[in-house]
Symmetry: C2
Subunit: 410 residues, 2 copies
């Protein structure tokens, strides 16, 4: 196995070298060829997916994430067309200056090389990641889950046909053939093959990454996101934002998990909260329960939990200061929102909350590559190294130093 994986890795590496030199219009063409193929062969895609679903015995939310309906295949094609239309991120001169000795220095934007992604179910990730990688001149080396293997194999085949049609090596989009856990661990150890590894999954995948990864990686971690309703908040706006952040899609990482309310507006805001959040279980601290008589008492653990469900922890704070401290203690560095009409409070939140994204008067649900205009994302980084938040085209590049002289020596 391992030898085969290394051999495959070398072929992906070689493909990355070719892709890094390819022209913008060729890379665009690959994406639109795949979009065409998805639309023309939607029944074939759905049929491959049905083979995966037929042997999938989990009836939980994983089943939905595994399913490719004709509409979802259409959405995948549409996403590729959008990414194809984005500006080329490559060869931009990000900095340039001349040194006193006459050396002309530039930093130019180039692809990372081979981007590895480990993910579960969600065959749409196969297409989304391949699209962002190819558009930005990177090879995509994909390790999907066994549950989605038939779907993923067909999707990768469409990519390889398109790459070859446009004169690029098919190996620029490659799927690990063996979806076992052992192969995943070996995949994370492909030093010299993978330039950037992104895990998309839960805590067990993150733990496996920390243990097994020997290649550089960016963690796509938990989202224990907060909405803080300041004393200067428009309470109707705050209700709409909290309802959206909690209920529009509770199972995703940018959903809100904790609501913090300033004491000056706590009674007024919390009294109407149950009506704004029908079906949501509220777990409230002692002070919040004054206005939320029916709420479950919140434990310390509740404030540290990413529920990914219709459950919301609720706390009352004495000040903006206390809200910021609460987020510093329990937050996971994903997306943190304040609702306020006080510019000083907004600025303090923006500057002082340490997270991939901070929001003022907007739902945490906007921290998403599609919503921010990136055409999707390879992952949402909750670490600070390399990139924070949604990783789109630019986050799949790095800056190379170029120094030009006339014979300078030290």
């Amino acid at each position: 196995m391992s030898d085969a994986l290394w051999a495959q890795g070398r072929s992906v590496r070689d493909a990355a070298t070719a892709l890094a030199q390819s022209a913008d219009d060729v890379r665009r063409a690959v994406l639109s060829d795949v979009a065409d193929a998805l639309e023309a062969r939607v029944e074939e895609v759905v049929a491959a997916n049905a083979l995966d679903l037929a042997v999938y015995d989990d009836l939980g939310p994983g089943r939905d994430r595994l399913t490719l309906s004709p509409a979802r295949v259409g959405a995948m094609a549409q996403t590729l067309r959008e990414v194809a239309a984005l500006a080329d991120p490559l060869f931009e001169v990000a900095e340039s200056f001349t040194r006193p000795n006459g050396l002309r220095v530039e930093k130019i934007r180039v692809p990372l090389g081979v981007v590895g992604v480990v993910y579960e179910n969600r065959p749409n990730v196969t297409c989304d990641v391949a699209g962002l990688c190819v558009r930005s001149g990177n090879a995509a080396f994909l390790r999907g889950s066994s549950s989605a293997q038939r779907s993923n194999e067909l999707l990768v085949a469409l990519w390889r046909e398109a790459l070859e049609k446009e004169g690029l090596p098919a190996e620029a989009v490659s799927l690990v053939a063996d979806p076992s856990r052992e192969a995943a661990a070996a995949f994370m150890g492909l030093v010299g093959v993978i330039d950037c590894l992104v895990p998309r999954g839960g805590p067990s995948l993150i733990a496996a990454m920390r243990e097994h990864a020997r290649v550089p990686y960016v963690l796509d971690g938990d989202g224990n996101c907060h909405v803080y309703v300041d004393r200067a908040a428009d309470l109707a706006m705050a209700r709409a934002i909290v309802a959206n952040a909690k209920t529009s899609r509770p199972g995703v990482c940018n959903a809100a998990e904790t609501l913090l309310v300033h004491r000056d507006v706590a009674d007024a805001f919390l009294a109407e909260l149950p009506d704004a959040l029908p079906g949501v279980e509220l777990r409230a601290d002692e002070r919040a329960r004054v206005a939320l008589a029916g709420a479950v008492p919140a434990t310390e653990a509740d404030f540290a939990t990413e529920f990914l469900d219709l459950v919301l922890a609720v706390g009352v704070v004495d000040s903006l200061e206390e809200a910021i401290a609460h987020v510093a203690r329990y937050g996971t560095g994903h997306s943190e929102a304040i609702v306020t009409n006080d510019p000083a409070a907004a600025d303090a939140w923006v500057r002082r909350v340490d997270a991939a994204a901070v929001l003022v008067n907007a739902s945490t649900r906007f921290i998403d590559g599609g919503e921010l205009g990136l055409g999707g994302e390879v992952g949402i980084s909750t670490q600070k190294l390399h990139a924070r938040g949604p990783m789109g085209l630019r986050e799949l590049t790095c800056l190379k130093w170029v120094v030009r002289g006339e014979g300078q020596v030290r």
Copy 2:
């Protein structure tokens, strides 16, 4: 031990939070205070260093790296003054745009947080790293070697005095008290404390990092750097560049280790090479030995070796293409130079050689934070994630998303 290390880590983390909010002039003042202290207390610094040297029994190059002369202490102070004078990298708006739904989106530059560095000997690194970290709003968490512990403790004490004088937490520059290998492994596992770990050392440190690191890290790896003398090279310029790249300081990572020469100029260039490189052992491939009769035959391993010594591998290539392929095979992604007067050859080299830095008609020795105007470097990254090449102030920052709206929901 481990409990004490975690407790120290939390104190560094808290200091980083304070430093991230500190004003530009306060951070500048800390650096100039330390520069003043180094100059005023140079004898004390040299005396502490003498205690380290007294028990150091290695007479190799490590001893020189450990030594702090008065001149070197003065140079450390000078470097801090230069870094203090650099522009503040923080709170720059790196990108901004408005979405169709009216959301105003920015990416603003903020510190990484806690920067951890593991290094050997070289007490000047203590000061250089602390300077770059504090200037960029980061806390420096330092794990020096036992050989330099007395020197490092005194230098860190100077930093802590300056930080306190300027109203910042002393823990913003902290040294691991226990310089054992076990403590180093524990240090690399401080998840949630260290935002970016940089190892500065040889292959065994890199291997230890891959094994033990559980925090995000940037590898400062080997420099197997090449100089390629193209057929369109000015041969006198090429001689000067090769001599400088090989001999000006052979023990550093940006020194050249392999010379490649185009066959059309091989005889003319190589015939004069021994005179240009007195004292350098040449290990030449079969074709180079035609003009270098006295050279040792090069083995495959020679082309893969970072000699860090007065040894140079020499090969003749048929084409630019072959030179690029040679670098792709043996290079370590550090610094790669071409000497040519052919703009097309220069452009091909710049675009196609995959390294942190590519140079045209200049010595590889310029790939250094000081030479490039960064005021030094925390390390020189040979990976692609986060930063490539010398890591200065900007490379110690990350971009945070800021989204402002008027109540937008999805």
